[in-house]
């Protein structure tokens, strides 16, 4: 019987470690290099000078406000919805379950086109709004509606599975101690599922911030009203390359900032628990 072949053992271990290292390196580089390339294409002076461009400022302001509003709506409406959906079984639950996932697989341009055909002034519903003098398409409201449509699945799916997997004995204990269902929900369920919900919210915000196809189809492209940052990048890329680059870098920085903030916040929560 050979002694535990220490040489071949070491050889195999180094090989598997280096292979694993290569794997991680490959994936990391593939994701990081394109982002890094953005920074290398411009200079700090150019970047700072184009930050004051009114087009950049209006796109930034519009993107941030619409994404925050979209996220707020998704959380406020989506959390109770996900809770009800997870806890009860109602007729048609399977269909609703599938519909939640629909915007994930639907191409955004198709989503935008569908929203336009429904809510546009010639649309199925939109025509009645139009008769009352309310226009939906080509407004900031349309931007928000498009963002909600494409980004909500990220939060809904996450919340739904969190509530499904949540150990109901916590809730039952609280109820036996006299807490109302609402109080239980707010003080027991939400805090314990918070980190998962927050990650879902982050994905939703990121998706809403980056929405392009549905926005340009349904809301159009009007600086200050509907020209979000992704639209400004697309238009700027062709007429003013530097502007497009600046806005792209801004988007990257914002995304990173959000991710880091969220990780710090959620880590604090875990420590306290």
């Amino acid at each position: 019987m050979k002694p535990a072949g220490s040489l071949s053992e070491k050889y195999r271990r180094t090989l598997s470690y280096s292979l694993a290292g290569l794997l991680i390196l490959a994936v990391t580089l593939y994701l990081a290099l394109p982002v890094a390339a953005l920074f290398f294409r411009t200079t700090p002076e150019l970047f700072w000078s184009s930050l004051s461009d009114p087009l950049v400022i209006s796109a930034l302001w519009l993107s941030m406000t619409t994404s925050v509003i979209s996220l707020a709506v998704v959380i406020l409406v989506g959390t109770p919805f996900a809770y009800v959906h997870a806890r009860t079984s109602y007729p048609g639950k399977v269909i609703v379950d599938t519909l939640i996932d629909l915007p994930l697989v639907l191409p955004p341009a198709v989503a935008g086109f569908a929203l336009l055909v429904l809510y546009g002034r010639m649309g199925l519903i939109g025509r009645y709004f139009n008769m009352m003098g309310i226009s939906i398409a080509f407004t900031t409201l349309a931007v928000i509606m498009a963002q909600i449509f494409v980004a909500s699945p990220f939060y809904l799916r996450q919340a739904k599975s969190l509530f499904e997997q949540f150990d109901q004995s916590y809730e039952h204990t609280a109820r036996t101690l006299g807490a109302s269902p609402l109080r239980t929900f707010l003080t027991i369920t939400i805090p314990l599922t918070a980190s998962g919900l927050v990650s879902g919210a982050v994905m939703t915000f990121g998706r809403a911030l980056g929405e392009f196809g549905a926005t340009i189809m349904f809301a159009g492209n009007l600086p200050g009203v509907t020209q979000t940052m992704p639209l400004a990048v697309y238009v700027g890329m062709e007429s003013n390359f530097n502007l497009g680059l600046t806005i792209s870098i801004l988007l990257v920085l914002i995304s990173f900032a959000i991710m880091i903030t969220v990780r710090l916040v959620t880590r604090k929560e875990v420590l306290h628990a």
Binding site: R12, L15, S16, L19, A20, L22, L23, A26, V27, L29, Y30, L33, L116, V117, G120, R121, M122, S135, A137, F138, I216, A219, G220, N221, L222, P223, T226, Y234, V235, M237, E238, S239, F241
Partner: protein, 327 residues
């Protein structure tokens, strides 16, 4: 047994790793000179030793145009610019980066091109000229570039992207205002565009038709017939700046806007889909389209053939049928 599964995992790991590395390297090294996959031509071969542009004699029944003018223009083009033409099957594919306003006529152009030059095929990449220019400048492969704006043509020429001498004016277009078929805002003239509540779609100023619209609007603002106030009111009625000319037309066709600034060719080719209000020539901007063979093309023979076709009476007639204004 354990040893076998361990080495098995190692082998799988190494294969996956190798594949990933190859993918990353490939993605990083893919340069602008990536050639499109050329499909082998299946039609009867034309004589390989005649100069570029000679259509096959047996096809005269199909091709409505006479070969003679095509050959002379071909000879002229060949004499001034294209390298010694070598007709081989691999040269049969033409990638044409084409201004989006030619979307409607492109199927007809493709069919007639293949009729005139059997064995050749053309593939159109249709987008706003500004988008195509950005793609080409960043390394995209094209054999032929059809631009809707002299400004972009000049930019590309100065950048050395064209084969010298191949840049030729192709056709032209005026700007026109189209309305949905039922004219919901009841627009009868250009002055009605300034009425409050009218929704107008224009193309972004980076799009050729957008800058043409801006020029026309500028001329009208300076005139006595319209005024600066009219100009301001119209611009405040604009609800979207689209990124291509067909996008403006589709918003009008859907009835979501009351009016859109597009090319006359779209209005003519659209027929009953739109009503239109024309802009007088004194205020209008005549957009000139140009066509040119790209220096990076590896099928310069086929590319020159395509340019000849577009400039020939067949190509020009196709364009005219779809509302383009011959030069």
């Amino acid at each position: 047994m354990q040893k076998r599964t361990e080495s098995h995992t190692l082998i799988t790991l190494s294969i996956v790793c190798a594949l990933l590395l190859v993918t990353v390297l490939f993605a990083g090294c893919t340069s602008s000179t990536t050639q499109p996959v050329t499909t082998a031509a299946t039609a009867a071969p034309a004589s390989p030793d005649t100069p570029v542009g000679t259509p096959v004699a047996s096809e005269t029944t199909a091709a409505p145009a006479t070969p003679a003018p095509a050959t002379t223009t071909a000879a002229a083009v060949a004499a001034t610019s294209t390298p010694a033409p070598v007709y081989t099957y691999s040269e049969g594919n033409v990638v044409a980066y084409t201004a989006a306003s030619l979307s409607g006529v492109s199927p007809k152009l493709a069919a007639d091109f293949e009729k005139m030059y059997p064995g050749h095929k053309v593939v159109f990449n249709l987008a706003g000229t500004q988008a195509l220019k950005t793609q080409v400048v960043n390394g995209a492969y094209a054999d032929v570039f059809i631009s809707a704006s002299n400004a972009y043509t000049t930019e590309l020429t100065n950048g050395g992207y064209f084969v010298t001498g191949t840049v030729k004016p192709l056709t032209s277009n005026y700007v026109i205002v189209i309305l949905p078929a039922n004219n919901p805002a009841n627009i009868k003239s250009l002055s009605d565009l300034a009425k409050p509540g009218v929704k107008i779609a224009m193309a972004d100023k980076s799009v050729p038709v957008g800058s043409a619209t801006t020029s026309a609007m500028g001329k009208m603002a300076k005139s006595t017939e319209f005024s600066k106030d009219w100009n301001t009111s119209v611009y405040s009625n604009v609800v979207t700046y689209e990124t291509s000319e067909p996008a403006v037309a589709s918003k009008v066709e859907l009835g979501e806007v009351d009016a859109g600034f597009v090319y006359e060719s779209t209005a003519i080719a659209g027929g009953d889909k739109y009503q239109s209000v024309s802009i007088p020539k004194t205020y209008n901007y005549l957009q000139t389209y140009t066509i040119g063979v790209m220096k990076q093309s590896t099928s310069k023979g086929a590319a020159a053939d395509f340019e000849n076709f577009m400039l020939s009476s067949v190509g020009q007639q196709d364009l005219k049928d779809y509302g383009f204004r011959s030069l």
